[in-house]
Each structure stands twice: as C-alpha cells, then as structure tokens.
Amino acid sequence: MTARPEPSAAAGTAAALVDRHYLDVRDLRVTFGTDDGDVRAVNGLSFGLERGRTLGIVGESGSGKSAASLALMGLQRGRRTTVAGEIWLDGENLVTASPERVRSLRGRQMAMIFQDPLSAMHPYFKIGDQIIEAYRVHHDVSKKVAKKRAIELLDRVGIPSAARRVDSYPHEFSGGMRQRAMIAMALSCDPSLLIADEPTTALDVTVQAQILDLLNDLQKEFNSAIIIITHDLGVVAEIADEVLVMYAGNAVEHGPVQEIFSAPQHPYTWGLLSSITRLDRTRSDRLRAVPGNPPSLIAVPDGCPFHPRCQYANLAGPATRTERPTLETVAPGHRVACHLPVEARVRIFREEVAPSL
C-alpha cells in the first residue's frame, strides 16, 4: 500500500478520482496491432471499485468491455497487443508489475468467469480436478485437502451430491451446472476481485435467475468486488450497484445504478434504454432504435465517438465533432462524457426520453 506514484499527468480523467479505491483503473488503453491498423479496443478508461460492490459494465460488441476485463486480468493475448495506463489493485500497479507477479495474483486475488461454461472448461479433465488445480496452484496442500475444498465449493454453489459430481466431466453437466462449477472454480482461492464476462448470456432465463441469485449471495459472503460485463440492462438492474456504460472503447457514463436507470444523461444510455423491449412497460408500436451501427475501432469517429449516431449532436456545438468529451462529474459518483450542456441533457431526458421509456 506504500509508495504509490501520482497518476500521470496525461491521465486527465484520473484526476477526478481523488479517492483511492480497492481497484483503480486509470487511463487504461488496450491496442491490438492488425494489418489493417491499430484497433483501439480500450481508449482511456478510468474507474474505481470498492470491495463488496458490484460494477456492471454495459456495452455492445466492440465497445471494449471484454478487452478491458482481460487486461485487468493480464490476459491480453498476442505479441502486437499493448496495454498502457494504470491498474491499481489493492495498492499494486498491475500494468508495471512483472508477468510472474500478475500470474500469482491471477486466480488468487482476482478471478474470472466466462460466457460459455462449456468451452471454458477443459473437456478432457474432470470438473473436480480442474478446481483442485486452481486451488493447488496457489496453495501448497495435498490433493486430498484440495479435493475436500472442491467438494465444499461445489456444494456451496448448489451442485447436488457434490461429492459424487466432483468426478464428472464438463460435458456431463448441464449449462447451468457448468456455470456453477466455473463459479466454484473462480471462488476457490477467495478472490477479492471477481470479473464475470457475460456470465449468463449463454444460459436459459430461468437458469440465469439462479446464477444471478447465487452471485448476489456469494458477494455478501465473500465481500469481493465484482465486475459484471453484460449487454443486458435487466441483468445490470438486478445485480449491479454501479453501472459503467462503454461505447467505442471508452466510458460514456458511470454512476450509481438507480441514477443510470432513472436519470441517465448520455444520449447513448438513453438509446440503450429506449431501444430495448421490456416487460415492465406498456408495449409500444415501434421501438426507438439507435440509428446506424457501432463504429469500427480502427477508425473511431473524431470528437465524441457517438456523434454520428446521436440525435442531439446538433445541440452540442461544433466541439462534438472535433473534441473527445471527458467524463465530468454531474452528481456524486455520477460521471458523464458528453458535450451537451448539463441543463439540456436533464431537460431532454425529462421531456423527450423518459416519457417514451
């Protein structure tokens, strides 16, 4: 926890983060070199998260949400991938730490669960052995002790007759059971940061409800910080304390979950909220779709990356086409990156967007 260097001057947005969080991400940049040019998957992302809190990261494909989470874990792949910026986890900067140090934290202090639990588990190894392996790599214990731990964990995540199922192979489990087993594996070393990348997208809705419930319970029990990456606003509403909306590699809005759903200020967030079908509202004839398509990350539009699709771009002044907006705090814990004047945003949401939600 000592000798933390000051955030670099380039990280202008990071200056807003005066508090030190359990997880502090500052000006994170992830770039993949390709033959067509550099893909700026994450382009200056900053946020903080405390233990016991759940952050929902919302975005479409190509928003950079998965690239950011893999970078947090030090799992970015490829020789032409670069990660810049700072990732402070419990006072340690993971970007500058040695790969060996990051590896020793991986699975122990920070763990991850993935979208498709079938492909995320090795088909040749027993479920139990895969959990045992995850535990023993960080704990010097016998196989027997580790197996006992694996059975406990499987039991905790709700696998019936865990002592027997510990010897099953992944293909012998159903989708929901596999995701439970993945969660058991991720929790084997009591991680303080758990990243869940679309953990319920591949699951049926009744099973999704079970898994979200489980994650909620486990968080209370383990007091970890959870990042849940999803495109489903319903999932976010259910499980998150805070929401970070990403677009084209950057955060456009970040705030407490109630505010993001009741008083969102970014036109993209409005677009997401009004374009979804939802059971809790009267059905309307037409959905209010966001026009156009998400941009290519090789050629992100100048200025605000959302401006070509933004209906209100004309009200935002010329800067929206030339200058990238930074996240500004509009309310405690609520930050928005938009060139529209705050009053205009509040008014537009109240008068034009909210009534049609």
């Binding site: 991986r106 090795h122 293909h171 594996m185």
Partner: protein, 333 residues
C-alpha cells in the same frame, strides 16, 4: 470399454473380410470377364501349355468362384493343399496363397519382408514424431517469429519434394560421394543391431524428412487452434504457470488429432513404404508387392494387399480406442 473394443475389433474383422472378398473378386473375376485365363496370370509370364493346365487344376479354377473363395479363406486358417496328380504342394497355415512364380507360399514372402518394413517404419516414425511434433509446437508457441517462419518454409519445401528425389540425392551424397554409409543393405536387427541402424539411417532420414514436415504443419495448426480455445484462457485465468498451460492443457488437446493421423500413417507405412524401399533396395512389403505386380505374381499381390489392409484396419481400431481413452466425451458408457 471392453464392449467398445470388442465391437471395434469385430467391425475390423468384417472390414477385412470385405477387403478380401473385393480383392479376390478383382483378381479372379476381372480376367475372366476380359476373357483371359487367370491360370496364365498365375503361372507367370508366357508359361507353357502344360504349366497352365497344371495351375488351373491346382488352383481349382475349374470350380465355381464361391468355392474358390472358400478354399482361399479356409486356407488362411487351416492351410491348403494344391493338388494336381503327382505335383503336390502344401501351403501351411496361415496360407495367404501360393506364389507359383517363386515356388513358395506367400506367407513366407511376407514374413521375410515384414521385419524390413517394420524396421523402416518404426525407426522413421520415432524420428518424425520427435522432430515434426517438436518443431510444430515450437512454431505455434512462437507464432510469426523468425523460427516459425523459417520452419514453415522448410516444411513447405520438404512436403513438396518426392521421396525418390530426396532419397537418391541422399544416397548419392552419403553412400557414393562421401562414403559415410557405403554398401547399404538390410541387416537383421538380431544379427547386428549397429549395422542394422547404420544401414537404415539414410532411409529413416528420407522418410522422416517428408513426414516431419507434414507433422510440423499439422501440429502447429492444431496447437494454434487449441491455444485460442476458451479453456486455455481459463487455465491462464486460474494463474497456472505457462508451462502447465501449454504442457498439460494445450498439448493434450492439440496432440489428439496428431496421434489420430499418426496411427493411420503408421498403419499404411507398415503396409510397405513402396518408394523408399525401392529407392534403397530394401525388400520390404512395398518392394515385394511392386515386384509381384511387375511379374504378374497375382497370389503375392493378393496376399500382401490383404495383409497390409490388416495393418490399416488395426491402426484404425487402435486410434478409436485411443480417442476413447483420451477424450471422455467419446468414451462409451
């Protein structure tokens, strides 16, 4: 699992039986349809009238085809008399036919050629597995590096060079030019293991050169596929050291298809590496069948074909069983 193996073996036997029927029909029926006398073919090139008549009688070619086939099949298990008056020939079991050309049972030719072929195939297999798979793994792990690109360029060249070319060049250099391996001929392993290895080494190298290239490419592709799998990302996310990720998680999956192909390749190599054997003058199964073809020695061709098919079928069964052992998803319950 036992039931699975038994089913596979039974299936293999049925396939072998089908192969025997088809080859038998080809050799016995086709000449008939074309109007030539199979006895003439059997008796070798330009035989005398008497010889043809004798062979016709001996082979029972005057009997219906089904009966002939039955005699052939039964001969494998019980042996067979070729009986034509005073001229009696006994072909002991397993009788895969009798070569009138060489005046000996085909089985004898096979047992003489088999050690040569096995020596050649196994030695080369050890070499190309070590080199090919090793290079493939290295290339995949250092994808896009100089090592990778150099290895794949050489491999591409090696795949495109035919064995008789590389074989002759090597022979010319090491045997005639530099005389490192002079007077190459087959020496039985039990007679002189050192000489056995020394004389086979050039042939092993030639065969391994080609197969290493194929296996390097195959292993690299398979490894790259596996390294991109979600479960490899999971293994890394668990904090496993890279050598465990690669050595345990990736390799096991990546080598499964390689072993499959290897089983089939070894099966067909054991049936005779025709070009290599011919180039180096080793009388293995390949060269034996080539000679039989050029002299029209039909019983030998028939016998060797069925025998070689046996290797391929056996290799197939072993590969299936291997798969079931390694991959729990295809394991029979």
């Amino acid at each position: 699992m036992a039931g699975f193996v038994i089913r596979r073996v039974l299936g293999g036997i049925v396939i072998l039986w089908l192969i025997s029927v088809i080859t038998f029909l080809l050799f016995f029926l086709v000449p008939k349809v074309l109007g030539s006398n199979p006895a003439i073919l059997f008796a070798g090139r330009s035989p005398s009238e008497a010889a043809v008549a004798g062979v016709t009688k001996k082979l029972g070619l005057d009997q219906p085809i089904v009966v002939q086939y039955w005699h052939f099949l039964a001969g494998i298990f019980t042996g067979r008399h070729f009986d034509a008056g005073p001229d009696k020939t006994w072909c002991p079991p397993p009788c895969f036919g009798y070569s009138f050309k060489n005046s000996e049972p085909v089985w004898q030719e096979i047992t003489r050629a088999l050690p040569v072929t096995i020596s050649l195939a196994l030695g080369a297999a050890v070499l190309f597995l070590l080199i090919g798979v090793g290079i493939g793994i290295l290339s995949a792990l250092r994808r896009g590096s100089v090592v990778d690109r150099a290895a794949m360029t050489v491999a591409l060249g090696a795949v495109s060079l035919p064995v008789y070319f590389t074989g002759l060049v090597l022979l010319l250099l090491v045997s005639y030019q530099w005389r490192i391996f002079p007077n190459i001929h087959y020496v039985a392993f039990l007679d002189n293991p050192l000489l056995w290895a020394r004389n086979l080494l050039p042939a092993w190298i030639v065969l391994a050169f080609l197969y290493s290239a194929m296996y390097a490419r195959l292993t690299r592709a398979s490894m790259l596929d596996v390294l991109g799998e979600d479960y490899i990302r999971t293994a890394r996310a668990k904090g496993l050291p890279e050598r465990t990720v690669v050595g345990k998680h990736a390799l096991r999956s990546a080598l499964t298809p390689v072993v499959t192909i290897f089983g089939l390749d070894l099966g067909s190599l054991l049936g005779g590496a025709v070009l290599t054997e011919t180039t180096f003058g080793f009388r293995g199964l390949g060269k034996t069948s080539i000679e039989a073809i050029s002299t029209g020695d039909l019983p030998t061709i028939l016998g060797v074909t069925i025998f070689a098919a046996g290797f391929v079928v056996l290799a197939n069964i072993l590969v299936d069983v291997f798969y079931a052992v390694v991959d729990p998803r295809v394991r029979p319950t």
